[in-house]
Amino acid sequence: MSKYSSQEMVLNMGPHHPSTHGVLRFILQTDGEMMVKAVPDVGFLHRGIEKIAEKLPWQGFMPYTDRVDYVASVNCNLGYAVAVEKLADIAVPEKAEYLRVIAAELSRIGSHFIGFGALLLDLGAVTPFVHALRERETFNDLMEMLCGARLTHNYVRIGGVSQDLPQGFKTKCRNFVDHLEHEFIDEFNDLISYNTILINRLANVGVITAEEANEYTLTGPNLRGSGVKFDLRKDEPYGIYDRFDFDVPVGTGKYGVPGDCYDRYWIRIEEVVQSCRIIRQALYGLPGSGEIRTRLAKPFTVPAGEIYVRTESPRGELGYYLISDGGKNPFRLKIRTGSFSSMTIIEHLSQGVMVADLVAIIGSLDVVAPEIDR
């Protein structure tokens, strides 16, 4: 009989912990620094967006899609618009398609800056995060020029986009893209990506194999980080993505094994470069004149039917399942988001890692809390 007994400690991480990326809670069972299990507890940001959608006109729901993932709102706008257009057979003008691609890829860049920036912040590297935010600032300025808002852009409309490019946008955007591809990314990699401490923190940590990724329905960069070459822009092109030439980076285990945190981090940096390429091509191919928006019938109704349309958002597959009964409002609207399925794997990944690794894992999965709860 021993006088002292040891027991596991239950730690409450969140809902306002610095590294939970929004209002998100984990219940950790730890044995000292080692983690036995981390159980996520979500729902703090549940706003009932799907219920709200049932009460709103089809166009009126567009601003709410901004709030699904506020870091990459254009991508959420785009997914919804594509879904409604497919269900209602609305053609989108050529020019609007190009504008959508430009805005969506800019938004992807901005989102990835937050994604890997916040990961680095969680690992204690503050300066790279601020440098990433500095570049995101240019993206914010560009979007403000384009549509007048810096965060909730609400740029895409059903049947087109809200506004044409303003004066000076093309030059500024091209400079931004060139700066990123040729200056910023290289400097950023020198500053932090190749740093031994960072590699030690991320490589071989939180390894997700390709099978596991598929089983847990991971999508987007998290799936590609595990070595699966699957990108909806290539494999199931929506809009005009089939016209652009870009690569799909996949995780190869640059410093560890494929599917570790470093791969997921590195994929995001590579995707920024690919998005730069797409933007440059889109700016080149953008028609000089033309309609930017199809006129919708008034009142706008969508023929009865059901559809599931998925698009590639920075956090993975963004799917809208729409059911219309032919009325002015959606009958049922379900948003399937990348962060939601990314969260399900955390309980599995967190077994037997350290508290500091959990922080890296959460950061590398790039979850955004409102997207989980909707």
């Binding site: 729902g43 847990y216 039917g305 059901e306 559809i307 599931y308 794997i345 709860d373």
Partner: protein
Amino acid sequence: MDPEKLITILTSRLGIAVQSMDAMKNDDLMIVVDKKHLITAAGTLKNDPALGFSTLMNHLGVDYGDSMAVIYNLYSPALKQKVTVKVYLDRDNPEVPSLERAFRGIDWFERETYDLFGIRFIGHGNLKRLLLPEDWDGHPLRKDYVYPALYNGIETARIDMMNETDEAGEPHV
């Protein structure tokens, strides 16, 4: 893959489980499956080498007013084909077998559907509310849901400034 060929394969493999099969707007197939045969149908869809619908994209519940349904969106990376599997449920007693065995990632999706629709998944290991508090009343996405005025004695409605009036009955400006 040729949709007609796929329909032939699906009909032969799934057999009596299929109640109907339609094409959807975006070249998907909508397969309505009988509740009793859901687990076998899902197993066939996932494991049959000619099909290989191994990726679960999405899962949701629907309240049609007179009946309920659960919908599974599956994707086959080999065929590059999506199918939508739909199961109609009895609205008064919505129960459906859980697909946790076939698709591990469905765990949270089913919890969300249970949370928002009250559809019970038989065999789910941890069927608790996901998004709403555990002591919440009702299932909000049902069509007959009435938003409760009180939650644990706290008023849930917020004052709408646009409807608020002062003592004289004039709106605040």
